[in-house]
Amino acid sequence: MNKEEYTITVYTENQIGLLNRIAIIFSRRKINIDSLNTSPTEVESVHRFTIVINETEDVVRKLCRQIEKQVDVLKAFYNTEDEVVWQEMGLYKVPTDEVAEKVKVERLLRQYGARAVVIRKDYTVFETTGHREETDGLIKALEPYGLIEFVRSARIAVIKDSSGFHEKLKSYESSAPGDELIENEFLNQQEEIFTM
């Protein structure tokens, strides 16, 4: 099996220490986390981790099961890149005089859909949002003009084939789980995972 980029989406309770509990599932197996984002969800009190790793499906499936086994985890999904819509954001700090003088830079920025967030006498901060190639591309493009600082955010992703977590949560809250939940036991059947 080949390694591939997977996005793992974990729905959890908002609990101190849970980030560590999830992180050590990866570090124990010496797996590097490429990107990790925590965020609220459309459901109050439910939190969401978005984790990106490069691994085989077999490993990712096992990781998801270990994550889902944690008491404070509601649900873990994994998806390949084409099953999610994702974005990352980059911030670029460049010397203002360089930008002002060279028209080429402005064109580059337009080309990368960037916008100025801060413009000061000494430096300007640009922001762009997109896929890895786009944020990476802008670094390359800005480097000749004295890029002072660059930072990229963690990836955020929504699963294309999902309809939110509200309904699902209802079945979790009842003590006798309904049919909704049965699908949870299908972690080894890819198609079924996306029927949230």
């Binding site: 220490g17 050590i24 008491v71 939940l181």
Partner: protein, 588 residues
């Protein structure tokens, strides 16, 4: 004295009769009292603990609860948690441990790891420095939550007393349900002291993010049954899941319906009596010959409540490749973890086994069963006879266990430590009853047996408890003799002394050209050590003394230590060498 919960009940009754629409009034209590009330409500009969600065308020409250809660003062926190494990394993109930912050809590880590890997239900309550001191490197402060995260099923830090009833209810629910495991609750000193309006204790029965039992998929049960019905050479392998699921009867019925040969892992041992006609022996590195070899010959392998440990499977890419695999487990993460499953049967085996049994056709399989018998005969001649009826001058571990069997008739709980004596005891001990084999299986913790035996006796007070321990392991937790002395508990300690760290020495002999690097261990005079703790004892080395000495030990009123000197360089066989396939098992 009434417990606070009883006071609240009385109050509630009074309130209800006077003002039917109003709820019960609370009672102002401290966090410490709330902890103890929770333990009473959970039916806790034994707490193994050790006091210290940060848990003093709980111990102070315990002073008034001495008649309601049985607290056993251990000599080291590791001893405390192993005792709680022994209690849990022998009784099927959750073990409880108290320890203080810092070193008290870090001393629990080995036991937590052991309980985690062997799925033992434990609730540990540790004291912690005042909440305002967290993160300041205060005296005896340690980050217990983060240290214990990888070795607990769940852990939680309480900094406010009002959380205590709900958190403890959650702790007991999580520890004991689904696949059991250890839970640690860290309570800061201010929360233990804090007075709050206590409204009683409600047991936890549901947590929305936690589903202890996966939903059974009937179609998988049907597929599994069809596979077993069509099998010519079905082979059942089972682990502790049968015991944890309290499914011993359901499991025996399942085997008996279709005459399925079944072998146990070290943790599954005693789920069916060791002389059950369909029980073909133990799996794994030092398991029996037939079960190991025939794993690679069966056509359908049915794994029940076991996790395919590497000590069971040997080399994975040569493990049961010819077989279709059915895996029954309560923990979905176990499916496909090590061995690829053909049919996964998720669920509590107490529920899945009867469903499966119902669909099974009666079967004979006598030719297939005969194969196990043939291998057993070969093993008997090459390995078992020389071990149990030796012609050597020195005693063997096997004959000690055999003689013990004759005296206990399989009715004792046998607690073992880790090493050669453990493998010999597990190979040859007889068990009639479930939960009578207590051993450190997954983690292989030397020093486990002595404290675990103390706990096991509290868990099964009516049963004889024999701790079989090597001369190395007993020295790791020998301080627990003090616990035996002070409590007067009746534990029989059988030390099998070969004057070596035997299992490591065996590997050095077989795989490292007899380079006995630091395995030659000296022991104190164990009988004198026991005597210093007021425990009677005896040391023997002659075959002629064996039976009487064992009888004397078992008949003795109270604890007794018997040290038996055995052959120095005996090896445990059969053996699946590391990195070899189970079918490459060596008889010598």
């Amino acid at each position: 004295m009434e417990t606070i919960n009883e006071v609240i009940e009385i109050k509630a009754e009074q309130t209800a009769s006077q003002f039917p629409l109003q709820g019960a009034e609370g009672v102002e209590v401290s966090g410490s009292v709330a902890v103890l009330e929770a333990l009473i409500a959970e039916g806790v009969t034994a707490i193994f603990g050790y006091p210290g600065g940060a848990i003093m308020p709980i111990y102070d409250a315990l002073y008034d609860y001495e008649t309601k809660l049985n607290h056993i003062l251990v000599r080291h926190e590791q001893g405390g948690i192993h005792a709680a494990q022994g209690f849990a394993r022998a009784s099927g109930r959750t073990g409880v441990v108290f320890a203080t912050s810092g070193p008290g809590a870090t001393n629990l880590v080995t036991g937590l790891a052991d309980a985690m890997i062997d799925s033992t239900p434990i609730v540990c309550i540790t004291g912690q420095v005042f909440a305002h001191l967290l993160g300041t490197d205060a005296f005896q402060e340690t980050d217990v939550i983060n240290i214990t995260t990888p070795v607990t099923k769940w852990n939680y830090q309480v900094t406010d007393a009002t959380e205590i009833p709900a958190v403890l209810a959650k702790a007991f629910y999580i520890a004991g349900s689904g696949r059991p495991g250890p839970v640690l609750i860290d309570i800061t000193k201010n929360a233990q002291l804090q007075l709050f309006d206590y409204k009683g204790y409600t047991k936890c029965e549901h947590i929305r993010s936690y589903r202890p039992k996966p939903i059974i998929r009937k179609e998988y049960v049907q597929e599994a049954a069809a596979l077993i019905n069509s099998a010519k050479k079905p082979f059942v392998i089972f682990g502790q899941g049968v015991i944890l699921g309290k499914a011993e009867k359901e499991f025996a019925a399942f085997l008996e319906k279709a005459n399925l040969p079944a072998a146990w892992t070290i943790m599954g041992m005693s789920a069916i009596p060791t002389d059950h006609p369909l029980g073909v022996g133990m799996l794994g590195m030092h398991g029996n010959y037939g079960p190991n070899v025939l794993t690679n010959e069966c056509d359908v392998l049915i794994a029940v409540g076991m996790r395919f440990d590497d000590r069971v499977t040997g080399r994975l890419d040569k493990y049961a490749k010819q077989a279709k695999v059915i895996h029954l487990d309560i923990d979905p993460s176990e499916i496909d973890k090590n061995v690829k499953t053909t049919v996964p049967v998720w669920g509590d085996c107490k529920e899945t086994l009867p469903l499966l049994t119902e669909l099974l056709q009666a079967n004979d399989h006598s030719a297939w069963l005969q194969k196990f018998a043939d291998y057993a005969k070969e093993e008997e001649a090459t390995c078992i006879r020389p071990e149990l009826n030796p012609t050597t001058e020195a005693l063997t571990m096997g004959e000690v266990i055999k003689t013990l069997n004759e005296l206990t008739e399989g009715n004792a709980i046998i607690v073992t430590d880790v090493g050669q004596h453990q493998m010999v005891a597990c190979r040859y001990a007889k068990y009639n009853n479930s939960k009578s084999n207590v051993t450190s299986g997954g983690l292989g913790t030397m020093g486990f047996a002595l404290p675990a035996a103390i706990g096991a006796k509290y868990g099964a007070p009516e049963t004889t408890v024999v701790a079989v321990i090597g001369d190395g392991g007993v020295q790791m937790t020998i301080q627990e003799l003090g616990t035996i002395m002070q409590t007067g508990i009746d534990v029989k300690i059988l030390i099998l002394n070969n004057q070596f760290l035997g299992m490591v020495r065996q590997w050095q002999e077989l795989f490292m050209e007899k380079r006995y690097s630091f395995t030659n261990i000296q022991s104190p005079d164990f009988v004198k050590v026991a005597a210093a703790y007021n425990i009677e004892g005896k040391k023997i080395s002659e075959r002629s003394e064996l039976k009487n000495a064992l009888k004397q030990m078992l008949d003795h009123h109270g604890s007794y230590l018997l040290e038996v000197m055995v052959g120095k360089e005996n090896n445990v066989f059969p053996m699946v060498p590391q990195g070899c396939s189970v079918s490459e098992i060596r008889l010598k």
